[in-house]
Amino acid sequence: AQSVSQHNHHVILSEAASLELGCNYSYGGTVNLFWYVQYPGQHLQLLLKYFSGDPLVKGIKGFEAEFIKSKFSFNLRKPSVQWSDTAEYFCAVAGTGNQFYFGTGTSLTVIP
């Protein structure tokens, strides 16, 4: 079965610090990879996704993620976080089935 691991459960950063959130998945076939963000009290929204092509994908609000196939990873990065980035971040994987697999989420708190 496919699975998604997010190793950082809670991350606290000061504004302007750099961010990297880890995501590893287990699946041997072709994968689509996603990062979703959930702001406090809101629903999940797509941040960025990888389907094919350039393994470095750029999303909204200055976020980017790099797909490293050999490491089964899709880490999320942002060079300089803002207070408004405080949210829960979910990594997700979709394979060749009909299922979306979500990680357990990483809570990010940015201190002004």
Partner: protein, 119 residues
Amino acid sequence: DARVTQTPRHKVTEMGQEVTMRCQPILGHNTVFWYRQTMMQGLELLAYFRNRAPLDDSGMPKDRFSAEMPDATLATLKIQPSEPRDSAVYFCASGLSPDGTGFSGNTIYFGEGSWLTVV
């Protein structure tokens, strides 16, 4: 602007009552998911459908939960009888899986959730 619509947005009910949550997927999407989110358990998949057929409901307590898609524009999640431990946010999400072999890069979109409190 296409979106997944969920009703009710908020529901407070007494233990033992029946609760029905509704979801209208984005027009043209053929896959619908029901998720439950709590502080303790995080995001849990309850059930999902493709072309209205239930594909997996193993995440759902069978004795009290049921999920259906009466038609392509409506998915329902019912709890009967409800219990305090069912208090959570229930999210519906929809997406397009073109041929049943994956989403081909398509995204799934979430509704704003139904916030359920059972007292």
